[in-house]
């Protein structure tokens, strides 16, 4: 045979080189510019309402009795699939009414005027500047967004209830039982919660994201205003400039973002 060992090794070497370079060339071919699609992008809705620091002003002069609050509370609870549990220990509340002496504990005195004494005040999560619940949460399920809204990622909540112990306003509720059977009318555009999860007001983050005002604002006939506390021209700042307002337990240093005109 004419084939020497030398020529066999030559051919074998070239073949091995050829096989070896193919994957390398493939990688170069696939990473290269021609025909490559642009990377997918994520963004906000164009019509989303944004602010540097969301805040709320509640004009309590426009409320006279508990009945005035009911439609607002109902609007909130209906949209967010909040169950209606009558057992006080199991109750779930995002927005509710309470008396002055319970809401403004540090400002209360027994000779306070009659209107204030019996007036129901709307209370909700205060979306604090320095939220104690966020520091207490061991899983980072609750967190503060850059725009000041204190939110919950229900997926991550393990139900330890540290946040409930930390919150000075009692704004959080725990699902001691499966809430689904207690929701009268499910809003299919918002998830429910499951047993063992804490929940609270989310400042209607899902509505702001599509350009809608929070449900309570829409249902309040102008008694509740939300806006950007960082923008001197905003409606909330105008209300704060022209009216005397108080906040709940400001001496605790949490920096609540909900203001009350009394």
């Amino acid at each position: 045979m004419g084939n020497s060992r030398r020529s066999f090794l030559k051919v074998a070497g070239i073949t091995a080189l050829g096989i070896g370079t193919k994957p390398v060339l493939d990688v170069f071919a696939s990473s290269g510019g021609h025909g490559a699609e642009p990377k997918p992008e994520v963004s906000q809705n164009e019509e989303a309402l944004t602010a540097k620091k969301w805040g709320m002003v509640i004009d309590t002069r426009k409320f006279h009795s508990a009945e005035d609050l009911d439609p607002i509370i109902e609007a909130c609870h209906k949209i967010h699939n909040v169950p209606e549990l009558t057992e006080p220990k199991h109750e779930i509340m995002w927005l509710w009414g309470d008396e002055y002496k319970h809401v403004f504990t540090h400002k209360e005195h027994e000779l306070i005027n009659d209107r204030i004494k019996h007036l129901p005040f709307l209370v909700l999560c205060n979306h604090c500047e320095k939220p104690a619940c966020v520091r207490a949460c061991p899983t980072k399920a609750t967190f503060k967004r850059d725009d000041g809204i204190v939110l919950m990622d229900f997926h991550r909540c393990i139900g330890c209830r540290f946040c409930m112990a930390a919150c000075p306003y009692g704004s959080r509720s725990f699902n001691f039982r499966d809430p689904r059977p207690f929701i009268k009318e499910e809003n299919k555009d918002f998830p429910t919660r499951m047993k063992g999860v804490v929940e609270k007001c989310n400042f209607c983050a899902e509505r702001l994201a599509v350009g809608k005002m929070p449900a309570c604002v829409e249902a309040s006939n102008g008694a509740i205003t939300v806006g950007d506390l960082d923008d001197p021209e905003s409606e909330v700042r105008e209300l704060l400039r022209s009216n005397y307002t108080i906040r709940r337990k400001p001496d605790l240093g949490a920096g609540p973002s909900v203001y009350y005109i009394v």
């Binding site: 992008e41 994520v42 906000q44 967004r145 990622d153 299919k188 555009d189 918002f190 998830p191 499951m194």
Partner: protein, 136 residues
Amino acid sequence: MYDKNKIVVGLVIFVAIVTFPFWYNLGKASSAPEPKLSEKAKAAKECVVPKKDMKQEHMQILDLWRDTVVRDANRIYKTGKGKTFNMSLSTGEDSCMGCHENKAEFCDKCHNYASVDPYCWDCHIAPKEKKPEENK
């Protein structure tokens, strides 16, 4: 070999018993289920990523989307081809379930076969099934 007959018979019986599950179930293996696409999904042809990647990575995509929506408030996903989607499992027309309308036919088919039990539907509300008899 002593007791050759007994040993051979015994071995044959032993092998038969041990391999029983294999030949008993021969040819009965159920085929991997194929999720049934809704008309809307068929018409759209491609989901947020190609089908192959969707099959392998939909759980990671959902996980990523969840964080993007809840934490960063970004709710719109624009694919490389320029199509936009609402980054939501069950809200609205261009969410996952807006297109894949039938949970039993689309999600559950494979999940049941693979014996995975994601807890999505403990909280998210599944779209109403159009054919109730197909529910399990």
